[in-house]
Structure formats: C-alpha cells, structure tokens
Symmetry: D2
Subunit: 335 residues, 4 copies
C-alpha cells in the first residue's frame, strides 16, 4: 500500500486522478491540498466524490506532505510546482509532476516559452520524461517523473516511431491538434465559458503554445537530430479528447503498409497504444488510458492520426502508469 | 429612423439585440455603453460584429444618453437598471428595460425576492409588462416597458389563456423549466464553465428563483385571483432555448381538444405564438421570435409544453417587438 | 469465475456492460451474440473495444448459449427477449434481462402498453424486479432478474422511501424526467440524428411512455395502494444521464428535514444511493453506478431530484449489481 | 418579384435556404419538391417553418417546375441534380445547383472522384463556379451557377489571394478542415447518430473526400498552374461551422503583415469576407454569410485560418448571394 498526496486537488486532472486511484488496490490517498480557504471536504469541491473520498483539503508545507506520503502527485500549475518539488524530494518523497516544470531539459528554452526563469534549473535535464512507451526503463528508479503534456503525448506517440525508423523527414512536420475544453482547467474564464465554447471551434496560440518545445525536444531525441514542428492547437466543443492530425514528408519512397507496420512493430508490446487501421475518433479512447494511432499516405505525404482522452492518457492515467512503474505495481493496474 | 442606445452592451442579450436592430430599417444604433475600461470597439468584445457595427463602448451619463437617443434598451442587471432609468425618462428618452426592476408591481415583493429595497418604488405598478400577447394596448404610449423574463414568457404564454378561459384551476400549478446556458449571461462563473455544463443537466434555485413572483403576478392577473406556482428551473447543456412543461388541474371535465382550441382562439391573431399539435422542441424556435405551445390531458391533469429562444422571444426579440409597438413600426419588423 | 454470454451485443447497453465486466475479476465473457451478418469481431462494431475483447459476434441458439454460459445478459429489445429467455432458463442458464419483458406483473397491462400479447405470460409476477435497494433479498436465488428501466430507477429511488414512510400522498404524483440520447439506443433514426438533437430539448411520448406502468407498479407496491403517476419524458442534448424532478403532496405537515432524513435512513446502508443536500446534476453520477437523490419542500409541495447515468445505474451497472448478488460476488465489485 | 422553386426541400440546406428567402423582398417561393410520398406540408417536415411557409411538397416534372418558377435551387444530391438540370435549363429556368455536378470542369475528374459517368458532360467547363469573390462577373448572365462546396469555400477564400499574389508556393499545401455535423445532411446514419458524434472528434475520408478536386481546380486557376492539396476533413461535435487551417510555404521571404495585407487588399470591397487579425472561431460566423479569414507566419510556414457557417456561406447563403447577382438584386439582400 502506497501513501499518496495530491497537490492542487481542486482541478480536473486531480479529480480524474482520484477516481483512478480509488480503484487502485495499492494506493491510499492520505492528503489532498489546496490553498483554498476553509479546508472544505474534497466532495464539496467535486460532488462526484461524495461518499467516495472522505478527506478535507489542506494547506500543507512540503515537509508535512513528505512526512505523510510516499508518493506525491503535483497537479499545481507550472512555476508553483517547481517551487515545492525540491523540498518534497529533499524530504524523501517521490513525485509525479503534472506541470511542465520538469519536462524541458534546457532552462533557456523554458525561460523563452514560459516567460520566467526556472526556480530549479540544475535539475533540468536529469528528470525522466514520463512517457513509458519511450522511457520505460528510466521510470522505476526515478525520484521525480515529469508527466507529459496532453498535446505532446498524441504527437509524440504518432511520430516518434516513424522518426526512429527513418520513415519520415525531420523537417516540415505539422502537428494540427484539436482538444476538448477540460484541457484548459477548471478556472472559469470567458474563453471557456459554456456559451463561448459550445457550437464553436477555434484555433488559439498558433505558433506560441508552450507544448511546442516539448514536442520538439522529444521528437528531436527520437530522430537523433533537431526537429521543430509547426504546432496548431484548436479548441473543440467537447469535454474530453484530443485528436492530432500530423503531416510529414516520407523519407524516400514509402508505402502506407510500411508506415502502419512500423507503428505496429514499435507498439507490439505496449498495453496502452493501439495501432488501428481505421481512422480513430476521440470517443474510442474516452475514459481510457489508450492512445489510438493510425497512418495514411496521401499524395506523397504521410498523415498520422492519433487520439487520447486528454485527462487520462494525457494526464492522470499516464501519471498512474508512471506511479505503477515507480512503485512496482503492474503497469496497467487501475487503468 | 429611431436613434437607439444600448446600455450594458457587452452581454449576450445586447449582442442579440444589436443583430436584430442591424436588420431593422427604422433603427439606428447611436450608442453602446459599458463601464468597461478603455472604450474598445464593440467588435473587440463581440467578434461576430466585426464590420457590422462601427461603434466604441462608452461610459455615458444618463443625460448624455438621452440627448443622443430616443429609445434606450437597458441590458443592465437589476438594481443597476433602476439606478439610471428615472433619469433617462426624466430626460425624455423612452426605455425598454431588460432587467427585472420594473416587472413587479409591489416593492415589498421585489425586496423579498431580490434582497434589497427598490431604488424607484413609486413607479412600480405603473409600468407596462411588455408581453404584447397580453398587454399590447398599453405598450404604444408607454415611456417605459418592462421586458419580460425568459422563463416567465414560456409559462405565461402557455398558462394565461387556460386561466383566462377558466379551463384550469389556479391552485397547484407546477412550472418545470429547462434552459440553455446563455440565459445565465456572459460573466464567467464555475457553474457555467464549459466542462461543468456540458454533458450535465441540473436543477438550481428550486423554490427561490426570482422569476417566481413574476410568473405569479401575471398569472394572477390572468386568473383574476392569486396564483402561486411551484417553479423549478433547470440548466441544460445547450446555448439557447427554454422548454417549459407546466402541470395544472383542469377546472371540471375537459378534453384535450378544448385545451388546444382555447389556445388557438386566444392566439389566433398573434404573429409570434404558434399553437401546435405536435410536441415542440426548443430548436423549432431557435433564432426566432416564436413561442410554440401545445397542451395535453394525461390521467386527468393538464400538461402544457411551450418553448422559445431565450435570447430572442425571451429577451431581445421581445424587446424589439415592444420597440416596434412603441415607435409605430410594424410589430414583426426585423423579427 | 462465471462464464457470461451477452445477447444483442451491438447496442450501447451491451458495450457498457462489456466495459464493466472486463474489469470484473469474476466474469469471463464467452459469447456475444447478434443477428448481424458475417459475424464480425465485436471491436469492428465497437472500436473502443479494440484489443480489449477478442470475440466475434455469433448468432447462437438458446441451447448453445446455455451450454456455454452460466449467466446470460439479454440486451435484446422487448419481445425478442421473452422469445428466448424461457429456453435459456430451461437449459439451466440464469438470466439478467435488460428488456421490459419481465418487469410488469400483469400480462394485461403489458399488452396494453406494449401493443402485443406477452410470449411467456405465466412467468409474469414471479420474476424479481432487479432493483436491489428494494428487492435485494429476492435477487440471489433468482433464475431470472428483470433489470429495471432507466427512467423508473430514478423515479422509484426518489419516491419509494417517501411513500413507504407515509410522507407523501399517493395521488397526484408528477415525474418530469430528462434523459440523454444514448437511452434511445444505437439504431439511427431521424429523432436521434445529431443535428436534430443537438441544441434541442423536447418532450416526447407524454402520457404514453412505456415506463409509466413500471413506475406505477413499483410505487404502488411501496405505497401499499395504487399509484398512477403523470410521467413526462424529455430528451436533452447529451449522451448520458437522467435527471428526474418529481412532485408530490406531503401527507400532512412535513418539513424538508423530515424528507431528507427519511431518504437518508432508507439508504443508510446502500452502496449506490447518495442522499445529498445540494441539488445534484447528472454529471455527478456520470460513468458511475450511483444514484444521487435529494428533496425539497416548496410552497407546500414535495419536490425530489434524482439522477443517474442511464447506461450504468440505469442499465448495465444495475445489471452487474444484480449479477454480483446472484452469483455471490461482493455487490459493488467492478462498479 | 422572382418566382422560386426548391428541389429536394427536405434537407438542411433547403431549410436554411427557405429561411433566408422568407426574408427576401424579391423572392416568392412557389414550389418545394421531394420524392417523399403523400405530399405533406413542408412544415410537417421542418416544424420550424410552421406558419411561415404554407406549401406542400410536390413531385414535379422539370417542365412543370420551369413553368412555375424563374429560378430553381436544386438541393438534390449529385447525380440526381444533373439528371434534371438540362431539362430545367431547356425549359427556360435559371438554376443554382447545390450539388457537385457542375463544379468540376472535367468529366474525367468527375468520374474518377464520384465513381460514375457524368450525365451531362458537354456542359462541364462552361458553368460558372458560384463564388462571387472570384467569379462575380460571370454570375449575372449565367443560366446555371454551380454553388461551391462548403469545405472548398473556406480553403479557396483563404488561399486564392495568396496564390494570386504569388506569396505562397503551389506545392505542398495542406488543408486541415473541421466541420459541424449538419454538413452531412439530414439522412440518419450511424456515423451521425447523436451518441456517436457527441463528445467525439474524428477524421474521415482522408485522401479521398470529393471536395479535393474542387479545391485543386479553383486554386490551380488562381495560381495559374496545377495545385494538388492534401485535404483532411474532420467531424466536430457541433451543428454548424467549418474551421479550416491551411498550411503552405511562403514563396520567398515574407512577413505576416504582407500576408494579412494581401488578404485585406483582395477582399477590400467584399461584403462577406472579413480579414481579421485575431484567430476567428466558427461561432463568429454562425448564422451569417460571412467568411472570416486570417493568416500567420510560423517557423517559416504560412498558416491560414478561415471559417464559415457551412449551411450559409457554405451553401444556402452563397446560393442567395448568387441569386441576387443573377436576378439583379443587391448582392447582400436578405443575407
């Protein structure tokens, strides 16, 4: 039984995490934190947890958290996460960080995209990127795992095998992604106000979304040389799900069968990536930790389509997958 | 040509009003106001108005407004509306008020439901309730028209003819209403955050929604004796539309045909109420000023079903209908 | 390990059932049937089952099914279900029937509401109505359990305790329900075509929905005298969820606290009914087997609000709850 | 006053067309046709037309149609449209064709993409493509106008000016489009069944959507040399709206300002294309005949974003725009 604390427990990823952990036989949630005033019961924030988790939100110091919990899931926003994680680690806790704080290897790139200096720059480059499909071996011993971003998960799982196999060129990769609104979090803003989002589909942050350098970094590692993608995030009127359509140039003459076969070979033993021949939709993966991927060759260009549930494989499911690897549980437990 | 000012122009009812007035041959919008800082162009707030209305938001005193405009539509919230309307009237403007401030006849009832004293109590009881189907004659000469609430419109249009004809009892009337989210306005709040509303249906403010006394008052007038309804508002995952299912007891033995006939007779000459034999849905009235109504007799109880577009017949369409009557335009113009 | 067959496996309730059973440690799905031609893999019908259930649809005779499976879940439509269940039972299988075929006790009432004679009328009245909250003791030994309808579940769980406690009158009960579209099944029809349902809310089958006699029957048993409800089903633009708002008259002077207390007492030991003080929304129960219930007293009338996920507590979750009771598993297993 | 017939009046584009024409002072709808049995009133098919259009569906021969109407809008599917249009034209009617039958200039290309020989191949290449922004001069005298496809409208309006101005290369253009479900028509199919579409986003017909050659043809004409696009259509959970994100390579060093300026210059006098600096969303154009367009330069690649209401600028609004030009009405009338 592993004692678990969840930081920033009022958001959607924390809620989803709690739901998964409640059915995990090895997980015991011992603390849920928030700077929320008055320490309400968690079920007062998330009514769906009524009678399911009898804890109150607490505002705890890192040392108190580490004293209680062996594993800490930080659902804090970037900046806030790296402000407490060093102390959690120093106090002996192991951490899965949902924020972007430890995903990038380079403090300069971080500063450029996030607009402020990193609070813990020395650690960058030494933290495993928690995508088991690429970095499974590094995860079990890791004190800290950087849980991947939701958009990057879809782009990386679709494109990495093709880059690794040398089937596509590294230049001129386009990642056109569409996400449900839960990815924007639980804080009310006009952009995510129901009547603004419903019956609407729009692009946002073109060319400046912070998931761009994360995709670049992991694809570059896969390719063995620098990759810079064009990344277009778009908001779709649904709760959950990301569909990513990526475009790349084949490296030499390739067939659609080769592309699909490369994906199938790469993911042959993966429990959570399904290489499918049909064109998948986000609903196929909804409420699951699956990523469905396929590939097409159209007029000489490679097109991949991949989809996930952004709150599960794109956040909390991936986090539990990492937790399972870190703490010796079967990788698929509770997922 | 009538010069028009719109107060509180950043909300959804104001946006809808502008769209209607832009196709009205007798309407010229001369001012749009807001306490918004910096006086942005209205199209910066409502991108759908790009190239359609070239005005900036202004923060104007009532006298300035009245100097520019003959007709003022106040889309301000309750309390704010009655704080400026007396001055607008005194300065010679005629006003259609979207707020609840002048809908109730009794300052005590207002204070009870709205939680504060009315700023202009002497005027209460002298302002016409702007539902032309019931009060058409009083509207043309009125300096001030209280535009009806969205929920009350559906309940009143369904039940008034049956009460007036003595076909239903005045006791024990239940009004079960379901509304799209645009009715809650444009201010972001957790309750109306996309991931909270989508795939959700919930009741709220049972027994204490402020439209209750408004329904009571107008139905009481129709019945000639006091009516107190049970009113249950519910939020449905859609932008627009209200469906109201009302339950009442027949006064004596009645047939379904009698009920439908009473509605048809009452609305025979009405341009915007359609008495239908099928069960209507909100989409039938979407983007129109229609209210569709029908009635059923089930196991000895009368059921009415009525629906509107809450932003049109439930707000801005009704307001233009009132404007047309006040300023001598054909009642259906631009609607 | 219990061997399970699922009849009519192409629909939404079957899909949901499979998803639940896949995480049930005591369930082994051995057959999925359909009259579909060509016996495709189940994942070709339900892509979300890719890599999760490696079975093909089969068109099997009842004897073949009973030879393979100990427990049969029949997701066939009414009429079709009672055409095979007698043979399944005769061959020794135990059955959970999702259809309405064995819910009513009276063949005459069945014929009146379903428009045809019952194929197996002698069995009516001897089959347990599979709502464990009311009939738990009869379920474990039952060869056949009639799984409750989705709407009835919400109405019965809200009203039964109040009727049993004598807190509400038996006359004049109104059940106003709103359902997501998945309740209508997976067969494409214009009424459920996306552009018809989206941004639409409508009432249907007022006074003639077939769940009416089912609600009547179970509430009558709870009350100890005949109950006839006014039942209004409505379709809301969402996948899942039913919210039922019911109206009844208090039997004598009652307080809201008494109503809530009666519900809390009745459900004190129930794992899947949560008596809440807030007004619940369908999303609180989405993807769970919970039913959330509350009560209000407004202007002398009792209002209950209850909600479920129509595919889980309203169908497949309830079926697994019954299965657990029938086969000796913990009642909450996999739920 | 122009007498109008609408063929294939049971679909969504016909419904939208009727709504627009009902507010057109120069249009009189004299016939609505369908092979529907029994000739029901049009309002029985489209309840939103109750009390608005008092016509019955008829099954008329082309000669009868041409005898009654000066202008015929054919909302028939491809194949069916070209089966009657020659006779309508021969009988003296002028026609706006919503189908793809007369959009392509080459009967071979038609046969390749539509899978059957064209019924009227001699006329191909002589019919104006009804996009006034590109072909306004040819429309007024035309006996037959091929109304553009919805996806092509968004791609062509975004990319043509950049191709004409030589700002982008003709090779390697990607058109990634997302559409609401109404674009799929009113015939119920599993793909468009509410619970399949809702909360789902999926790609379909990648590399083989029939709008591909239409985009190719018009962009090739704009560029003055062959263009072959990669076109990816995707279905989004909303009624209306298309958002198209297109990717192209700049021809030489270009700035974002140049791109935007080229669009602004090209559309300076266009009433229905708004070149905006913000990233537009489909809702900005909903229920209007506008197309909103913008451009970005990201990492050396040009990205355009354009959106329309697929039923209006993508179908019925464009058709009325063409009608206005053909019959001498102001181009924006009723739009």
């Amino acid at each position: 039984m592993t004692r678990i604390a969840i930081l920033g427990a009022t958001g959607y990823t924390a809620l989803e995490l709690i739901k998964i952990l409640l059915r995990h036989p090895g997980a015991e949630i011992v603390a849920v934190t928030s700077r929320q005033e008055g320490q309400p019961p968690i079920a007062a924030i998330h009514p769906s947890l009524t009678d399911r988790l009898d804890l109150r939100l607490e505002d705890l110091a890192p040392e108190e958290i580490a004293a209680r919990a062996e594993c800490v899931f930080s659902c804090l926003p970037h900046g806030a996460s790296s402000a407490v994680i060093p102390q959690l680690l120093a106090a002996g806790a192991r951490v899965v960080d949902f924020s972007a704080d430890y995903r990038l290897n380079d403090a300069g790139v971080f500063a450029q995209w996030y607009g402020h200096q990193h609070a813990d720059p020395e650690r960058l480059g030494k933290v495993v990127y928690g995508l088991p499909e690429l970095y499974r071996k590094q995860i079990p011993p890791a004190p800290l795992v950087a849980n991947p971003g939701c958009y990057p998960t879809t782009a990386i799982l679709a494109l990495s095998p093709l880059l690794k196999a040398g089937l596509i060129e590294t230049g001129d990769i386009i990642v056109d992604s569409k996400s449900g609104v839960s990815g924007a979090g639980r804080t009310p803003k006009l952009n995510y106000h129901y009547p603004e989002c419903n019956e609407n589909l729009l692009a946002y942050n073109i060319g400046r979304h912070r998931h761009t350098p994360e995709i670049d970094q992991v694809l570059s590692a896969a390719a063995g040389k620098p990759v810079e993608v064009i990344f277009t995030p778009q908001l779709a009127p649904m709760d959950r799900g990301i569909l990513t359509t990526a475009y790349a140039k084949p490296a030499g003459p390739r067939s659609e069968e080769q592309l699909l076969q490369a994906l199938k070979t790469f993911y042959a033993d993966e429990p959570f990536v399904r290489v499918v021949e049909h064109l998948p939709g986000t609903k196929d993966c909804a409420m699951t930790n699956y990523c469905d991927v396929t590939a097409r060759l159209v007029r000489g260009r490679v097109i991949t389509v991949s989809c996930i549930d952004n709150l599960i494989k794109g956040a909390s499911g991936a986090a539990v997958q990492n937790f399972n690897l870190m703490f010796g549980y079967p990788e698929t437990m509770a997922l």
